[in-house]
């Protein structure tokens, strides 16, 4: 809403985290968001609320409090079992109107990035995408939102001075969760879904969770990625072994995806996903710009390539010159040797 006077701004209080829910469970990224939002709420001397919409989410109330929320606002409804973004948006817009939070943050996941833009437009709020930093401006009390744009080439700080709530989606894995404290207690509020809010626009017919071949690149601390140098689907099994050995996920260049060796949801880069892992191991990926924009924000980059002089080898923190079919098995042996 337009809140361009101090009086109007003062009508909005408290910091909200919209939980990332999948299969009725609150996902880990929500705890990260609560950790970051706790600081914001403390800086604003207000309450931290966590809003969870889904089927069975009331079971998560204790966890929500344990990770730092003062208030759990629960919309537990079987009609929200599957991702009906228009329904969730309608409910959120209504709850925002009722409780008037000052700040609202949500994970920058496929769900969050579908849901929150709809909420922001409908409630006439500004929305900053994919933030990696959040702070309160000591002078104005406004939320300063820092985000990468242009494929990670620029860091922009964004502010919504005259609109409330101030909204942001936040990249997974950049904020730190508080330690879970089972003794931490809070309030909980239960709200319903109104007639007409769900099922008005879409019916979700089928849901597929990939249990066997988990991807979740955005959540991975360690990514082992393969390119054209992997030479086939068989080679990706070797990469998967390394990923499993270090508890990581498997990524890929577009060349590997377009060759049909791995599905598209593994693709990193401009026309794939942007990742922010702690360690990124590029195996047989030369490092063309369109790949680099998707992974250059990773903390530590390892390149394994036969060619010592590729853009990826020059960018890397550690560059291993050699055949990945020899290096990776040797790494597996080395890792197993404690």
């Amino acid at each position: 809403m337009l809140a361009n006077t101090p009086a109007l701004r003062a009508e909005y209080r408290n910091v909200w985290v919209v939980a990332e829910v999948s299969g009725g469970k609150v996902q880990k990224v929500t705890w990260e968001l609560l950790g970051a939002a706790r600081r914001l709420a403390d800086a604003r001397s207000c309450e931290l609320w966590c809003v969870a919409l889904g089927d069975g989410v009331s079971k998560e109330t204790a966890a929500i409090h344990g990770y730092g929320a003062d208030v759990a606002l629960i919309v537990d409804d079987s009609r929200l079992a599957r991702f009906d973004d228009e329904a969730e948006a309608a409910a959120l817009v209504r709850l925002i109107g009722k409780y008037r939070p000052e700040i609202l943050v949500c994970a920058a996941t496929t769900r969050g990035r579908a849901l929150i833009p709809r909420v922001a437009v409908t409630s006439n709020s500004g929305l900053t995408a994919d933030c990696t930093g959040l702070a309160i401006d000591p002078e104005s009390g406004d939320l300063l939102q820092t985000r990468p744009a242009f494929g990670g080439n620029i860091m922009a700080t964004i502010r919504s001075a005259n609109h409330r709530p101030q909204m942001a989606t936040v990249r997974p894995r950049v904020m730190n969760a508080l330690d879970f404290d089972p003794a931490r207690k809070g309030q909980s509020i239960s709200e319903g879904l109104l007639e007409g809010e769900s099922g008005a626009f879409k019916t979700v017919l089928e849901v597929f969770h990939d249990e066997e071949n988990p991807v979740n690149l955005s959540d991975a601390r360690f990514i082992v990625a393969g390119g054209r140098g992997v030479k086939g689907a068989e080679g990706f099994k070797l990469l998967r072994k390394l990923a499993d050995a270090v508890g990581g996920a498997v990524g890929a260049s577009r060349a590997a995806v377009d060759s049909g060796w791995v599905p598209y949801n593994h693709q990193v880069g401009q026309t794939g996903q942007t990742v922010q892992a702690t360690v990124y191991v590029a195996c047989g990926i030369s490092g063309q710009i369109q790949h680099l924009v998707g992974m250059q924000s990773c903390d530590y980059i390892v390149a394994i390539d036969k060619n010592p002089d590729t853009p990826m080898m020059r960018l890397a923190d550690a560059a291993v010159v050699g055949d990945l079919y020899e290096i990776i098995p040797a790494m597996l042996a080395e890792l197993a040797r404690t």
Binding site: A114, L115, H163, N216, F222, R314, V320, A330
Partner: protein, 262 residues
């Protein structure tokens, strides 16, 4: 059926270079191209047209020279292009951009489907597609990797998620944002390209689409970029590891362990 494809003009990254000092990408003075994801949106529209019959309209908001991306769209099968261009649109954030585009969709009239790319590679927000849906009060489907069924009244969309996908049925009108998996865009023929150069592209101003001036441009944008800075430079030193596979692996694992990375 009437389909609008939203196309953004973005800087071409293929011309960009890595700065040896900061190890970051420099992209000064490079040419403008069609946002890569929008090519998949356009291809899907043209395929629906070929199957069911439809009018495909390419829409862009940008400076006068943005007509180029519309001509490219016409070369691969769009029936016409509309350039939304007005000084008053300058500085629009995603709220104001989605408002302006939704006003153009309303002005076109009778639109069943708006197709967008998942994300533009410069602004990188992925907010404009669902923003248009919200402005119009229409259904939305984002991160769409397939549209297995499309008929006169409704369609199915397969949406990509971090942990898998889901399939939903949606009635028109709707806004769909697409990812690369959807299709393989065709290459325009030379003849198509030449023909597209001659097509008249109408320019619509804010007044033409009846946009409320308080909702567009810098003043109509709730967000404001208050500061930009380069990202922190990467570590300049590259640790080079060479030798036998066993030696390399030992050295790398030692390094990772020392840094507590494994």
């Amino acid at each position: 059926m009437k389909i609008v494809v939203c196309i953004k003009q973005v800087p071409a990254t293929s011309d960009a270079k890595i700065d040896p000092e900061t190890k970051r990408i420099v992209r000064e003075g490079i040419k403008a191209v069609t946002n890569p994801f929008d090519a998949y949106a356009l291809e899907e529209a043209v395929r629906i047209k070929e199957r069911l019959g439809a009018e495909v309209i390419a829409l862009t908001m940008g400076p006068p020279r943005a007509d180029m991306v519309l001509r490219e769209a016409i070369a691969v099968g769009a029936d016409r292009g509309i350039l939304l261009s007005d000084r008053a649109f300058g500085g629009s954030d995603t709220w104001a951009t989605s408002y302006a585009l939704s006003k153009a969709v309303e002005r076109i009239g009778g639109v069943d489907l708006v197709l967008c790319g998942k994300q533009a590679i410069d602004g990188d927000t992925a907010q404009v597609g669902p923003g248009i849906a919200a402005q119009l009060g229409w259904a939305q489907a984002t991160y769409v990797m397939a549209m297995p069924q499309v008929d006169e009244g409704s369609f199915t969309a397969k949406r990509m998620h971090e942990d898998g996908w889901d399939l939903c049925r949606i009635a028109f009108p709707a806004v769909v944002t697409v990812v690369k998996d959807l299709n393989q865009p065709r290459i325009p023929t030379l003849k198509g390209r030449l023909a597209a150069q001659k097509v008249e592209i109408p320019t619509w101003t804010a007044a033409d689409v009846g946009a409320d001036l308080s909702k567009i441009g810098l003043d109509g944008s709730p967000t404001r970029v208050v500061k930009t800075e380069p990202p922190p430079a990467r570590n300049k030193e590259t640790l080079r590891i060479e030798g036998s596979a066993a030696d390399c692996a030992a050295a790398l694992v030692r390094e990772l362990r020392q840094k507590s990375l494994v």
